[in-house]
Symmetry: C2
């Protein structure tokens, strides 16, 4: 007897685990002494993730100029710039990519055509719109929502977390 519990289970659009790893790793680097390199071994053990997997993420962070890496004995990672200058958004972008959160499935669909067609002639029949120039209004709202989140993430830095940790008393 097979049990199927709601195969139509849906998860909220979520940040990947990699984003969590990246943020936590960077925070650890920020807390390390300046000039000290933290090895992948230490980072991986700290976060409870495999070295090989974490190293992929660190490598991306390096390519984006967020951390520096040194090979060889006593090598490892360090921040490439001040924690004040690293925003959550910077880190997330590296791991999650740079596309927008909402892409309209098919701008050529009848829906999009009809929608704009009817509204365009309501205001000015002479000015015929040209499909692609006319942004989908659903996307417009979704982009606005994303912008809100992005703005917030751009305002929060790694240093901010360290500061709030230092001043925070862990109340129950």
């Amino acid at each position: 007897m097979k049990l199927y519990f709601n195969r139509w289970k849906v998860l909220l659009m979520q940040f990947s685990k990699s984003t969590g790893y990246a943020l936590h790793a960077i925070i650890h680097l920020a807390r390390a002494e300046r000039g000290h390199h933290v090895g992948i071994k230490e980072l991986a053990a700290l976060l409870g993730v495999s070295e090989s997997y974490l190293s992929k993420i660190m490598s991306k962070l390096r390519q984006d100029g967020i951390v520096r890496a040194m090979t060889g004995a006593s090598g490892g990672y360090e921040l490439a710039k001040s924690a004040k200058l690293i925003t959550f958004f910077d880190v997330i972008q590296v791991v999650e990519g740079r596309q927008t959160m909402y892409e309209c499935f098919n701008m050529d669909s009848l829906q999009h055509q009809l929608f704009f067609e009817s509204e365009a002639q309501a205001s000015d029949p002479s000015e015929h719109h040209e499909g692609q120039n006319c942004e989908c209004l659903v996307k417009k709202v979704m982009d606005g929502a994303e912008q809100q989140m992005v703005h917030y993430l751009q305002q929060h830095t790694i240093q901010g977390v360290l500061d709030s940790a230092a001043s925070k008393k862990c109340t129950k």
Copy 2:
């Protein structure tokens, strides 16, 4: 010869296509005459998606009280409430689920323990914190970011899109 273009390609955390379908379908229902039922055939053709797939999504929307469905000839879907009362967030929640966008990978990791441990005793060594009550500061920022987006999506209704379509001239 095999070509691997950046197998570490990453996509931004994105809304599913289903969310797009749902939003566009609901907008179409909102534009239909009151009392008129729109069939899945019409909706699917409009959006350029299969009937069977869209019907799953519509079914979810029905279960959540956003649309009503009628079987039988001249059946179909209609909004279950005024377009003024349906926010983007309502729709998205149905399709994407209700979990938060960021879950900390492992609250028991050394990272989390150390981080709070050292900060807790800085402020008050006598009050020993108890792991789970102490929220991860990374998650705190991420939740804040999500809240920004959610708030925006709660303020934008389906009716809002119809209104802006009506007043909008499609400028190039």
